[in-house]
Amino acid sequence: MKKISKIFVGLCLGLLLVSCNSYLDLQPITEQTETQFYKTETDAFQALVSVYDVLQWSAPKAQNVPFEVISEQIGDCCYAGGSSANDVPFVVKMSKWQCDVDDPSFQALWYKYYYGIYRANVFLEKVTAIPFESADKKARFIAEAKFLRANYYFDLVRLFGNVPLITKILSSAETQALSQTNPADVYAQIKTDLVDAIAGGLPNRSDIPAVEGGRVSKHAAEALLARVWLFYTGAYEKSDLAGLTKAQITTYIEDVVKNSGASLLPDYADLFKITNENNAESIFEIQYSTKSTWGDWGYREGSEGNQAVILWGIRDPGATSPYASGWSFAPVRASLWNEFDATDTRRSVTLLNTTAEAVTYKAGYQNTGFFNKKFTALKANEPADGSRELNFGNNYPSIRFADVLLMAAELQLESNPANAQDYYSLVVKRAKGSAAVVPTVTKDLLMKERLLELALEGHRYWDLRRQGLNVAKTTIEKENGIVDEEMKKTFDLKYNGLFPIPQYELTLCKQMNQNDGY
């Protein structure tokens, strides 16, 4: 018995002393870690897709702030709208340039663009060590990420003006120690990224196969660079963009006109059909789809759908109407209807004139009877699955060939008036027919044409702003004398046309300062 006891004691002590530490060497099984990932071309492509992903965050942090919608609301064409003055109080304040620094919508925009920038930075840092079979493919991926980073910075710096420039992965502490970068340096970085992307491997627009519809081309980068050039030199009253001269940017935009393979669609009405996306006129088009069938209202970033559509849509149009019910945000100023000639085919494509079309609907706040028809919610486009508000598939054509022609005309008004006249004529004649009499192009006519051609596509405010703060103010407030108090628009010069830096970021990042006026 004693002996057995001793053996038992030994055994038990053995059980006690055996080390269990190896049980702690667990690794995630269905989750990948950073060290396991970023190894193959497939990984690189997925990382690149996550950079693209942020393009379609039309409702970051559940805030209704699609770039093209807010751009119209702060400009001269649209009001705030919604169901009532209190539907989304922020939008009403923003549309009158009476913003609160702690409004969550600014944080949402800030978040969106910095998440996009971070993902581009992660991709650009990790991709260097990933082996590719084809060096061209690697160069193309890198160029796409640079284009996207430039795109995010451009929207960010246009909205907020004074933002920190981050071009690599930072620790949390490093981020918090950041201060704002001189806007000139942010624009210089945008220029560098785009010039690199153009030179460094983006394919020609015509070489991108249909299955890759939505991928960035060299010509998209050139067109975006022209847009940045015009905005920066205008808004900041400079003669060049970080050394990029007018002659150089003209060469770039001419390359798009002559070599992109893009052309104007014969019929303006075909531009905004959901069945006709990524068409001959498309230069850079943000892709949306019904296919994610998203339903999570707490994380609207996850949807692949275009959440601007439900904002543009009219309210309760009734069962037999071709229009689907929306939230009636951004109702359009009625006078825009009359700025189009009656012969202009763009008028009835651009504007939903509820009187002319005899549409019944429920009037929302600041109702004018006019809505944006280009992206409005249509029953035919309603997603079959998921929450309908979150899943409309309408793409957003960020850069169209018509815009390219008008930019090219503007850049060559003095250097090559014949070109300018040709490009201007192409746009006007597409709208009014080949028999239309086209006047001799001037800067004013070009600006007017940009308004009519690109109306309600999110460009107008930026076109006003680049002509100077006073032009923006006069244009935005021009109807104040003749409209009701509710419909008055205001543009306070002291804000320089910039949104406030989100208050939360300021309290956290001590080196940053609030924009002037706030």
């Binding site: 038992f8 269905t30 539907d87 502490a173 939505g214 970021e505």
Partner: protein, 704 residues
């Protein structure tokens, strides 16, 4: 093993519990069936004991969202305008023309809430204890716990308002199971020599758990009925989604304990444990937690023998450390997420991937260090009392520090700071008896002071919870403040006229609130810079109570017994977030009747307007902070014992009637001052808490 035991004991029990929710009959309920069984056997003259136990619980549950400002039906009920009918004349649900966004008809909301949840839990353990000789024992235990969860979701077609519409039916089903295994070995040596008693114990525990799940969802049900909401009856193939994963966690502990006592007068214990967790990186995997305690039973000393009045007197002192690893798995790793990061090219979705969060490879065990001194006394055979003083310091506090969005990814847990709780606890008991009548009184009261000593970042603060979409960072963890204090603006009454607006100036004469109108709040410009902004926010409330107390009263006369239990809290504040202040059209509560409507009408409730230029209702201010002190009769029970039934083999029958939550004394205007929170920085914010019900119970028990 079967038979052969010298002594055996067994135990068998079953119980069933069913409760309907108070707000949503049929939509929120809970029922549970529990079966328990255990056996113990002794062999070889007490040298070997073996035993096992098994518990099976079957739980069915239907639920609604409690304390939730966005989805909860209670918030819906509070914020819905009173004009909208619950149902229209044609039987359809009424839809408000005024209130928007998440505030919807609460009855309609409940009608479309159709989630069911069920889990089966099986807990089994077996042990063997070997006594080698009288003083040396070895016990080995294997325990397993298995959870099988199933949940069903059903989404009907509905329209609650313009923002809350669903046009297709859908159903989801998820199964998950968790298997936890614990293996523990303990060797105990106990020896008595003379008046000395020594017990030493060493042991280890290995705990592993593995969780996996499978989730599927599909749309297009052929019948829109929750009873037929199964994936096979949903016919939209393109909408089918499936996902599933697995996760593992392990905890390894080595521990030892040494007890020494002398003559039941002096006692000393020291323990030491090393805990290793997979939740931390290799360098921080183990945390080491020692403790010491000493006791002196003064009443057992010779010099106390003459003090008859004192039955017992004991002094205690202890110091110890405990660990906390409760942060979820893989926080130290930078994981890659593939979820919701895709993009479409030519209308085909391609999955994307990016870091799931900003990783923190240095995250480590949180430790609580507690020092305690105490005294226990019993005297005159009727009274007992205890006093304890403690200091509890939580170091390396584990919390998600919300940092700048410029990080580009969500934040991970980090060890941020040191929180100190200091307090005194008193316990007093009295019981006595006269003839058939006996009574007892037990009273306890705890005073606690919470203070954040340091925060592990440069700012010295971490922001916490938001209320609605407009009031952000309403709570804060900040150095030299109580944790989760309310951070906002101080109101200083209401401007009664324009002259008062113009008179509210900073030292240099700047009018501080030039846009304010009579009826708006006067805010204190704390930094005297002539404007009201974030820099004027300060501590406007503390959700931590000054003290909590409990009182039990008992009275027994012959076979009848009556007992009452009161509990209360004093000095804590509540941030009343039960109205959606960010949606100006939501329903006001009745105190709006006393709002400012003209000079001299109110000094506490501002004017109501649609624009709210002064942000009376969108700035977190002292206006929303209320005293959350309360005293509540938690339980009252009257019982009767029937005896003298031995001849029917019944020892005792007990019948009782009980009532819980009979009354509450409080000045708090919300539904219930007792607000729990799942998150330390969400403490004390009432988002429409599901109130505690008042229940009446009639019951009985029979002992054979």
């Amino acid at each position: 093993m079967s038979g052969g035991a010298e002594k055996s004991a067994y135990n068998l029990s079953a119980s069933y519990f069913n409760q309907e929710g108070i707000y949503a009959p049929g939509k929120s309920n809970f029922n549970r069936l529990t079966l328990r069984e255990s056996t113990d056997h002794v062999y070889l003259n007490d040298h070997l004991k073996i035993g096992q136990s098994l518990t099976i619980s079957l739980v069915n549950k239907k639920g609604i969202d409690p304390n939730n400002i966005f989805g909860g039906p209670i918030l819906g009920a509070l914020n819905m305008d009173p004009i909208t009918p619950v149902r229209n004349a044609d039987g359809t649900f009424g839809e408000s023309a005024y209130v928007s966004q998440e505030v919807v008809n609460p009855v309609a909301k409940l009608d479309i809430t159709n989630s069911r949840y069920k889990y089966n839990r099986i807990a089994a353990n077996a042990y063997a204890e070997i006594m080698f000789f009288k003083d040396l024992k070895f016990k080995s235990t294997i325990a397993s716990e298995m959870f099988y969860d199933e949940s069903w979701g059903y989404t009907p077609i509905f329209r609650l308002n313009a923002a809350t519409i669903n046009s297709v039916t859908g159903t989801s089903k998820s199964n998950s199971n968790m298997m936890a295994l614990t293996y523990e070995n303990i060797l105990t040596y106990n020896h008595e020599f003379g008046k000395h008693n020594v017990t030493t114990m060493v042991g280890n525990t290995l705990k592993t758990d593995e969780w996996s799940n499978l989730v599927g969802s599909k749309q297009g049900l052929i019948v829109a009925d929750p009873y037929y909401a199964y994936l096979d009856l949903a016919k939209n193939e393109t909408s089918a989604k499936v996902s599933g994963g697995i996760n593992q966690h392990a905890l390894v502990s080595y521990f030892g304990r040494l007890n020494y006592s002398y003559s039941d007068k002096y006692m000393f214990t020291t323990t030491f444990r090393a805990d290793g967790s997979t939740r931390f990186g290799v360098n921080n995997r183990f945390g080491y937690f020692p403790s010491f305690s000493a006791g002196w039973n003064v009443s057992n000393e010779k010099f106390m023998e003459n003090m008859r009045e004192i039955d017992m007197l004991k002094l205690r002192a202890s110091w110890g450390k405990n660990g906390n690893e409760n942060i979820g798995d893989w926080q130290y790793l930078s994981t890659i997420s593939f979820g919701a990061r895709g993009y479409t090219f030519n209308d085909v979705i391609y999955p994307g991937a990016s870091p799931a969060k900003v990783s923190n490879p240095d995250v480590k065990w949180e430790a609580s260090e507690q020092t305690n001194i105490g005294i226990d006394v019993r005297f005159l055979k009727k009274f007992n009392a205890s006093v304890d003083y403690y200091i509890k310091s939580t170091t390396d506090f584990l919390v998600v520090v919300k940092s700048s969005d410029m990080n580009g990814a969500p934040d991970a847990f980090s060890n941020a700071g040191l929180i100190q709780n200091k307090g005194v606890e008193f316990l007093f008991g009295y019981n006595d008896k006269r003839g058939d009548l006996s009574w007892n009184v037990d009273f306890n009261i705890s005073f606690n002071k919470n203070n954040v000593v340091s925060v592990g970042n440069d700012e010295g603060w971490i922001s916490g919870a938001s209320v609605g979409t407009a009031m952000t960072n309403v709570t804060r963890m900040e150095v030299d403040r109580p944790i989760s204090y309310f951070f906002g603006y101080e109101t200083d009454g209401i401007f009664q006229n324009s002259a008062e607006v113009l008179a509210h100036t900073s030292t240099d004469g700047t009018v501080i609130q030039p846009k304010a109108l009579p009826g708006d709040f006067r805010y204190n410009d704390l930094n005297n810079d002539g404007t009201i902004d974030d820099k004027d926010r300060t501590m406007i409330g503390n959700p931590n109570p000054d003290f909590t107390a409990g009182l039990t009263l008992g009275l027994t006369w012959k076979n009848i017994s009556l007992s009452a239990f009161f509990s209360g809290m004093y000095g804590n504040d509540i941030f009343n977030g039960t109205r959606r202040w960010d949606l100006p059209m939501s329903n006001y509560q009745s105190n709006v009747i006393n709002r400012w409507v003209g000079e001299g009408t109110s000094t506490t409730y501002p004017r109501v307007s649609t624009t709210d230029i002064n942000k009376n209702f969108s700035r977190p201010s002292s206006f929303f902070v209320e005293d959350g002190s309360f005293a509540r009769l938690k339980n009252l029970t009257l019982g009767y014992n029937i005896t003298g039934l031995q001849k029917y083999l019944i020892q005792n029958i007990k019948v009782y009637v009980a009532a819980s939550n009979l009354f509450t004394l409080t000045n708090y205007s919300g539904l219930d001052p007792e607000i729990g929170s799942g998150w330390v920085l969400g403490t004390g914010i009432d988002y429409g808490v599901y109130p505690q019900p008042r229940t009446y119970t009639i019951g009985g028990s029979i002992t054979f």
